[in-house]
C-alpha cells in the first residue's frame, strides 16, 4: 500500500434535503467517499449532479435504492457492492495499492431497542461481516455509521459484538483468545473525540430525558477499523464537524448542539486513510 489518501465523510441527515450542505462539505474536505443515512428526504439525483461540479467521478455506489445507508464515491479504482441489508451495506474498494472492505451501518435506535437487543444486532452484523472477511480473505475493514450506541456500550466493546476497543497498542495484537475462541479486534478511535473538552463539541448527538442516567452528549456516529489499518489512520484527522468554513454555515444551534430544526440531530464526522 502507499500513495493514496482517501477522505471519508459520514452524516445521518435525518430525512432532510441537505444537498447544498453536503456539496459544501465535500468541497471543503475533499471527500472521496460520502456515506449517508436516513436519506428518505434527499434529492439524490440533484446531489449527484451538484457533486459532479466538485469531482466529476462522483457516483452512487448502491445497486438498488436503500434509504438507511447510501454510499456515494469518487474513488480512483474499482468499487464493488458486496452486500446490502436493512442495517448495513458492504463494498469492496480496490486499486493497485489498496484493497479494503467498507461497511456503512445504521443500527436500530434506543427508542426501538434496549441494550440487550442492540448487543444482539451487533452480534448479527459482526458475524456476517466476519464471514465476508473470510470470503475475501482480508482483515482490512472499515465500519462507519450511526451505531446508535456509545463507544463504551456492550454492543461496541463485547467480544460478541464489534469488539472495538480504545487502546491502539492492545488492538495491534490483532486478536485475543477467550475460552478457546479467537476473537479479532477492531480499534475504535471514536473514544478519543467523545467528551473531549478542548473540542468544539463533546459528541455527535445530543439527547436528554428525565431518566436517572443520561449521557446528554453521545458518540453514536463512529468509525472503527481493523488493527491492520491503524498505521494508515491519522487520529488527528478524525473530526466531528460543527460548521462549514467556506459558507459560514453552522450545523449547531446557539447552545452548540446539533441544529435539528435546520439540518440534523446528528453532526457529520470525517476521517481519512493514507494508504
Amino acid at each position: 500500500m502507499g500513495g493514496n489518501l482517501i477522505q471519508f465523510l459520514f452524516w445521518n441527515i435525518r430525512k432532510k434535503n441537505t444537498v447544498t450542505e453536503l456539496v459544501d462539505l465535500c468541497r471543503e474536505y475533499n471527500v472521496d467517499v460520502l456515506i449517508l443515512s436516513e436519506t428518505e428526504g434527499l434529492d439524490v439525483n440533484s446531489l449527484i449532479n451538484e457533486l459532479k461540479s466538485v469531482n466529476e467521478d462522483f457516483q452512487i455506489g448502491s445497486l438498488i435504492s436503500t434509504e438507511r445507508i447510501l454510499i456515494i464515491h469518487a474513488f480512483p479504482g474499482l468499487v464493488t457492492p458486496i452486500k446490502d441489508s436493512k442495517h448495513f451495506s458492504v463494498y469492496r474498494y480496490q486499486n493497485d495499492n489498496v484493497l479494503f472492505l467498507l461497511v456503512g451501518v445504521h443500527l436500530p435506535s434506543k427508542r426501538e431497542k434496549n441494550e440487550k437487543d442492540q448487543l444482539s444486532y451487533a452480534t448479527k452484523v459482526i458475524r456476517e461481516i466476519e464471514d465476508l472477511e473470510k470470503q475475501f480473505n482480508t482483515l482490512e475493514t472499515v465500519i462507519v455509521g450511526d451505531f446508535n450506541m456509545n463507544p463504551f456500550e456492550d454492543g461496541m466493546v463485547s467480544c460478541d459484538g464489534f469488539h472495538a476497543i480504545m487502546c491502539k497498542e492492545t488492538a495491534l495484537a490483532q486478536s485475543r483468545k477467550i475460552d478457546g475462541y479467537k476473537k479479532y479486534f477492531f480499534y475504535n478511535p471514536s473514544w478519543h473525540i467523545h467528551g473531549k473538552a478542548t473540542h468544539e463539541t463533546l459528541g455527535s448527538y445530543y439527547y436528554r430525558n428525565n431518566q436517572s442516567i443520561v449521557h446528554f452528549w453521545n458518540m453514536f456516529d463512529q468509525v472503527i477499523i481493523r488493527p491492520k489499518l491503524i498505521e494508515y489512520f491519522p487520529l488527528n484527522d478524525l473530526k466531528i464537524i460543527t460548521h462549514i468554513n467556506r459558507t459560514g454555515i453552522k450545523l449547531v444551534n446557539k447552545k452548540g448542539r446539533p441544529d435539528a430544526s435546520r439540518y440534523s440531530d446528528h453532526l457529520p464526522i470525517t476521517f481519512k486513510l493514507t494508504i
Binding site: L63, T80, K83, D84, K86, L119, D160, D179
Partner: protein
C-alpha cells in the same frame, strides 16, 4: 437392544418456517431462470462465552430472545455474488413458533411477531409481493442479465 424409544429423526426433520423459505427460494430461482440464486444464511446470535462466563446470571440477562437469525439472501452470481438481504426471520431452534419477521419493507412493521404458520405466511406474502421487493429484484435481475450478455459477447470475440 434399542433403548432410544420412539426416536425417529427422519420423520421429524421438518421445520415449517425453513421449509416455507426453501420453497419460496426455489420459486424465485425458477422465475429468474437461475440468474438469481437464494441463499438462506443462518446466523447464531448466542454469545459464545455464555456457558463459561464468570457472571452467568448477568450473561443470561443478555441472552437474545431469539438465538437464531435466518437471512433470506438474493445472490447474483453474475454480479460477483452481490447479495441483497430481503428479510430476516428470528427464531428459536427448539420451537416452530413464535418467530419474528424483520424487513425494511413498509407494508410490514419491523420485527413483526408471527405466532403461527398462517400469520407467518400472511406477513411473508405482504413482503414478497410488495412493490419495493419487486423493484429490487427486477433491478438486480436486469443488471445481472445485462452483464451476463456482455460477458457472452466478449467470449464470442475472443
Amino acid at each position: 437392544m434399542d433403548l432410544w424409544g420412539n426416536l425417529n429423526l427422519k420423520d421429524d426433520n421438518h421445520h415449517v418456517v425453513i421449509s416455507i423459505l426453501q420453497e419460496q427460494a426455489k420459486l424465485l430461482e425458477n422465475k429468474t431462470e437461475s440468474v438469481l440464486k437464494v441463499r438462506l444464511e443462518t446466523v447464531n446470535l448466542l454469545p459464545k462465552m455464555i456457558s463459561d462466563s464468570t457472571y452467568p446470571s448477568l450473561e443470561k440477562q443478555k441472552k437474545p430472545r431469539y438465538p437464531i437469525a435466518t437471512n433470506f439472501n438474493i445472490v447474483s452470481p453474475g454480479l460477483d455474488n452481490y447479495t441483497y438481504t430481503l428479510f430476516t426471520v428470528y427464531h428459536n431452534p427448539e420451537t416452530e413458533f413464535p418467530v419474528e419477521l424483520d424487513t425494511s419493507i413498509e407494508e410490514v412493521a419491523p420485527h413483526t411477531p408471527c405466532d403461527n404458520e398462517r400469520e407467518f405466511l400472511n406477513h411473508l406474502h405482504l413482503v414478497l409481493s410488495s412493490e419495493k421487493v419487486t423493484n429490487a429484484i427486477k433491478t438486480i435481475y436486469s443488471k445481472s442479465k445485462t452483464l451476463k450478455a456482455e460477458v457472452r459477447k466478449s467470449d464470442f470475440f475472443f
